[in-house]
């Protein structure tokens, strides 16, 4: 089915609906809220990376001036976590701390200073335990266990999937290209530090305002840990001052202030310091990778084998999904006939990793795109033309059963080739200057929810009345990506009014229908589809009433420019408000709903839940760099990026997302890293805005953005995501450009000056001009799940199960081994 055609709003650069509030300081972020008699909360955090809690003495703290309540782990014994399979967090550690910064106790006092002083007066006796600071040490150290669950020792999760016989694929190859890569961890660094304010209302209910991207999941966690009826807990997601995935988990501090509010009967607020935001983390997993590709002389892949090892930090978070994502999307850009993926995630004594913009896919995308550059170099092919020749076709299934719909990558490649002057530059610029190319793709929302259910992923309610006012209610949260603007735009487009005529009410579990949250680039597609459905229903009510009044068939009624009129005689009609009055008179109180559930994926094997999406966005990116051959310093003056967004609902905000993605990618490419010191426990090296390097105006490059619009049948008006995909190609494009400039490969992110210089020194000394990992530590990825690709007759099921179902034959592997 073709997507709905845009009216007069969608596709334009209509104003961001929350713009005026944001430029006047009126937008209330969580920390801007204050209530009478409000108490302040501070958390006491662990100074040890791994230790048993022997005793906690809070008596002195409780007796300090202004202190109203002190909590420890005993007060909040129920564990929680974002994934049902990783319920491994406690609001306050009951018996064990797992990283420096893990919260142990909490104080509520009249002022923040009093709370801080009291927190310092709490005495905790610890027995230190051996600390694990890396995947290597986790593999080496099966005991003591950081958690008493997981796939083996301190390995949290193991994955082994094979789609077709990759050995056979390698045997058919003209060349085998193998390399190892490393992607250092980095973090979201939203400008806004997390904050929450909780209050117990006199009827015994709880309300919390919080800087969360996922009010629905926080709602579930609060209900679980506090043991309250879900209907008595209200979560209001404040506009987020940046999220990028860092506010997608339910957090300990949110549960703590809720508990403190229930205990004291007073509003309780917490505002994290920047250092504490680093301890919340949930950012990019440090990931070691190995890639083996079999290729034919023309660059066609015959088989691909990826291994990833993720340093998960101290808790599960989204980690199981993150691990799957490091193996999921390699297949949607270029044809991969046979594919094998082995991945593992280890627990370590660091702040937990989780979903940062691109969730689990930037690391393998970096490895894959640098690998493609290597392959082209080995085969003597142009890396751009080589990619163009082997694109995954539109409307196809991949080896791992991902359903690709619209696929504008070819157009993206052509656009950046022409705009960047690729042919004149690649391999032709003077030493020290170079260009590099990379492609990428990202999901527009996940096909499956985080917890198993058969419910809609997004719901929108519309309220219309005689005032002509339209209010759109949705659980989605605006984190700066512009979801409120998309909601207003979709509704306004269908109803023929201005987006500013739509009042949006979002992210409030008491008032708005559930939307799963602002993560996985799902909101535009899912909320957008729900909004279109609700608006089409409202349109039918209004059009029906007007048709009756005008005495014309309802099909002839048009809604445009705040008017409802007869298409064949446009002068015949009425204002939108008059139309609403007619509709309310005819139908009674006006309200409609829309909801969205993604199509079911054809994949049926265990682990198939990660990767499927209603639609995939595509990107091609060329970066131009200047490398100082004496210092290794890299400057990026300009980036060209073409993004297949299906349809830009709002041109301004879409381009804003692309530019913002390029910015964040540039930071990751050149400088951002979560670094730890091991000599004093596993302590974060520099949890500050000064030493965690986020690019300033001086580092940001010029960006030429090209929007490629290949409408996807599953998207609202054909729209796909824009928030995450455009970050992905930047890191490999920069690394490939450095190679073009000075002939050395840095197979590690960030591509920092010391690494480039080291590679240059090696090259000058007659060694391989490369900086990167030598290999991966040996590891067991568990038993393989084999699935036949669609073109080999596979039906998406695990072959073993397929065969058992088909007649009980076990152990036979087609393709022969």
């Amino acid at each position: 089915m073709a997507p709905r055609k845009p009216g007069k709003v969608v596709g334009t650069a209509y104003l961001k609906v929350d713009g005026p509030d944001k430029v006047t300081g009126r937008t209330l972020f969580a920390d801007d809220l204050a209530l009478p008699r409000m108490l302040w909360c501070k958390l006491l955090r662990s100074p040890h990376a791994h230790a048993r809690i022997l005793a906690i003495d809070t008596a002195a703290a409780a007796a300090m001036p202004g202190v109203k309540a002190v909590l420890t782990g005993r007060d909040l014994p129920t564990p929680f976590g974002i994934l049902p399979v990783s319920q491994d967090e406690h609001a306050l550690c009951p018996d064990r701390v797992r990283f420096i910064g893990d919260p142990v106790a909490a104080v509520a006092a009249e002022t923040e200073e009093q709370a801080l002083e009291a927190a310092h007066a709490i005495r905790v006796d610890y027995e230190r335990l051996p600390e694990i600071d890396s995947v290597q040490s986790a593999l080496r150290t099966p005991e003591p266990l950081i958690h008493d669950y997981g796939d083996a020792g301190n390995v949290h999760k193991r994955i082994h999937l094979e789609f077709g016989d990759t050995e056979k694929g390698f045997a058919e190859a003209d060349e085998i290209v193998e390399q190892n890569y490393f992607f250092e961890g980095n973090t979201h660094l939203p400008l806004e530090q997390h904050a929450s304010l909780a209050v117990k209302t006199p009827d015994g209910k709880l309300c919390i305002w919080s800087s969360t991207q996922t009010p629905h999941y926080l709602h579930r966690a609060l209900t679980k840990v506090l043991g309250m009826p879900a209907a008595h807990v209200r979560v209001v997601a404040c506009p987020n001052g940046g999220g990028f995935g860092g506010k997608s988990d339910p957090f300990n501090h949110e549960i703590v202030v809720a508990k403190l509010a229930l205990l004291t009967g007073r509003p309780v607020k917490i505002g994290l310091t920047r250092e504490e935001v680093f301890y919340c983390h949930r950012g990019r997993h440090p990931t070691l990778m190995s890639v083996k590709a079999g290729v034919r002389r023309d660059g066609a892949l015959t088989a691909l084998h990826f291994r990833t090892q993720l340093d998960g930090g101290a808790y599960g978070s989204y980690g199981v999904a993150s691990t799957y994502y490091t193996g999921a999307l390699q297949t949607v850009t270029y044809r991969v006939p046979r594919y094998r993926f082995e991945g593992l995630r280890a627990f370590t004594n660091k702040p937990p990793c989780g979903p940062k913009r691109g969730h689990g896919t930037p690391q393998p995308r970096f490895a894959l795109e640098v690998h493609m550059d290597r392959i082209a170099e080995r085969l003597g092919l142009d890396p751009l033309e080589m990619r163009l020749r082997h694109l995954q076709p539109a409307n196809s299934l991949t080896a791992n059963f991902l359903q690709v719909g619209s696929m504008g990558l070819g157009k993206c490649l052509e656009e950046v080739r022409e705009r960047s002057g690729w042919r004149e530059k690649h391999g032709k610029l003077p030493r020290g200057r170079g260009v590099g190319l990379a492609c990428s793709s990202y999901i527009s929302g996940a096909g499956l929810p985080i917890y198993w259910n058969a419910l809609p992923h997004s719901g929108v309610q519309l309220r219309l009345d005689r005032s002509g006012g339209v209010t759109a209610f949705c659980g989605a949260t605006d984190i700066g990506q512009g979801s409120d603007t998309v909601l207003a735009g979709c509704v306004a487009d269908v109803l023929g009014i201005d987006p500013l005529d739509v009042r949006v009410v979002t992210g409030d579990t008491d008032l708005t229908p559930v939307d799963l949250g602002s993560y996985s680039s799902r909101v535009t597609l899912m909320m957008g589809n729900a909004a279109v459905e609700a608006a089409e229903r409202a349109r039918a009510l209004v059009a029906g009433a007007v048709a009756e009044k005008l005495g014309v068939p309802a099909e002839r009624i048009a809604l445009e420019d705040r008017r409802v009129f007869d298409l064949e005689d446009p002068a015949k009609g009425m204002t939108f408000q008059e139309a609403c009055i007619a509709a309310e008179a005819k139908h009674g109180t006006l309200g409609t709903v829309g909801s969205y559930t993604p199509p079911r994926s054809p994949a049926r094997f265990r682990g198939a839940g990660v990767g499927p999406s209603p639609a995939y966005s595509y990107q091609a990116c060329v970066a131009e760099v200047e490398v100082d051959p004496e210092t290794g310093e890299v400057k990026v003056p300009r980036i060209w990026i073409a993004h297949d967004v299906g349809r830009a609902i709002n041109r301004t905000t879409t381009i804003g997302q692309v530019e913002g993605g390029v910015y964040m990618g540039l930071g990751e490419a050149l400088m951002e890293e979560m670094a730890y010191r091991g000599n004093r426990g596993v302590v974060h090296k520099f949890p500050s805005m000064l030493e965690y390097k986020s690019p300033t105006t001086r580092e940001m490059c010029e960006v030429e953005t090209i929007l490629v619009e290949d409408p996807d049948p599953n998207g609202p008006f054909g729209g796909k995501e824009a928030g995450q995909g455009p970050l992905l190609p930047v890191m490999p494009a920069v690394a490939n450009a450095v190679f073009d400039a000075v002939g050395v490969r840095v197979d590690e992110i960030p591509v920092s000056a010391p690494k480039v210089l080291k590679a240059l020194q090696r090259l000058a000394a007659g060694q391989e001009g490369r900086y990167g990992p030598a290999g991966l530590p040996a590891a067991d990825y568990g038993e393989v799940t084999r699935v036949l690709p669609p073109w080999e007759g596979g039906d998406g099921r695990d072959m073993k199960k397929q065969e058992v179902g088909a007649g009980g034959v076990r152990g036979h592997i087609p393709g022969g081994k």
Partner: protein, 329 residues
């Protein structure tokens, strides 16, 4: 949010009152001007003075006047944004104006002062951390602890002299004026610094740095180059200041005299004397510049306590010194 600890606030009306207040307060007292160094330190509880004496508004500290022998006397309370845009400085002391313009951000330069930058607390990423963070490493020698974690066997602290203007002023041979109730003294800026992360200045605690005197611009040239990760916010991981008297024109003039001073590679600005000796009395050729870079590389001793790796920070001394020399021409 991070907040300041409580203190008593004093605002003197003049210099005499300021130094008397400081003497009266004793070890519990601390001057503050721009506050861009002290307030973050206090918020992190690296310093907790009971009495803070605010000298930010003293007009006497904000003047620019002719110095002895044709030099220039700068009030220590000049804002860094004033230093970077001051007409006389731009005309004759480009390295000073440029050095000031590389400090932190435009916003902080509207607050921070010349004197404050010269007296910037030495930095170390085991030290410039909150109380809670430092507790997790059991503190360090510079504050509340016993060990220097940069070099645990070492009897001294290795915090890094991270002022941009310090190497510039040392290279220029500038002087600072220090004032206390005991009187006034002027010393070369080079003598202001001590090679120790904790006791990094020879200024007595009760002394107030009131002025910086630059030598007459009688034909010498000077250059400052800064290495850091980002073009804003960041402290130097290497600062290279070069001062020289060159004789004769042409592409390879003769080096009559030269001073090369490195910042951010030790607890004090570091004179690269061996490099200077190589250059003195010889033509400033490209080869000489490279040789000087290599000679300056040797004594540079960055430690693992700033941004970027110490090996790289040492490596870039070579090209940076050579480039600074080239910029003289």
């Amino acid at each position: 949010m991070l907040r300041l600890p409580p203190f008593e606030y004093l605002r003197p009306a003049g210099l005499e009152e300021a130094i008397r207040m400081r003497a009266d307060a004793g070890p519990a007292g601390q001057f503050v001007a721009g506050g861009t160094d002290l307030w973050p330190n206090m918020k992190r509880r690296q310093e907790t003075p009971a009495v803070v004496i605010d000298i930010a508004a003293l007009p006497v500290l904000r003047g620019v006047a002719a110095g002895p022998g044709g030099g220039l006397r700068l009030g220590a309370g000049l804002r860094l944004s004033e230093v970077e845009s001051q007409r006389d400085l731009l005309a004759a002391y480009g390295a000073v104006a440029h050095g000031a313009s590389t400090i932190s951000t435009p916003l902080l330069r509207n607050m921070g002062t010349l004197g404050g930058n010269l007296l910037l607390d030495t930095r170390c990423n085991y030290y410039d951390q909150t109380f809670e963070w430092r507790r997790s490493i059991d503190f360090c020698m510079k504050k509340d602890g016993d060990t220097c974690w940069v070099a645990p066997g070492s009897p001294r602290c290795w915090a890094v002299q991270s002022s941009d203007l310090a190497p510039v002023m040392v290279a220029l041979g500038a002087e600072v004026t220090l004032r206390s109730t005991a009187g006034e003294r002027s010393i070369p800026v080079a003598a202001l610094y001590a090679d120790d992360g904790m006791k990094f200045t020879t200024k007595r605690p009760e002394e107030l740095l009131t002025a910086v005197t630059l030598p007459a611009p009688d034909g010498w040239r000077a250059v400052y180059r800064k290495v850091r990760r980002r073009g804003s916010f960041d402290f130097p991981v290497l600062g290279t200041a070069v001062w020289a008297r060159l004789a004769g024109g042409g592409p390879e003039p003769l080096v009559e005299d030269v001073r090369i001073v490195l910042g951010a590679v030790g607890s004090a600005p570091l004179r690269a004397r061996a490099a200077e000796d190589l250059l003195r009395g010889k033509p400033l050729t490209e080869e000489a510049m490279r040789a000087a870079g290599a000679a300056a590389w040797k004594p540079a001793k960055p430690m693992d306590n700033t941004d970027l790796t110490l090996g790289w920070r040492k490596d870039v001394v070579r090209p940076e010194v050579a480039r600074a020399l080239a910029e003289l021409l």
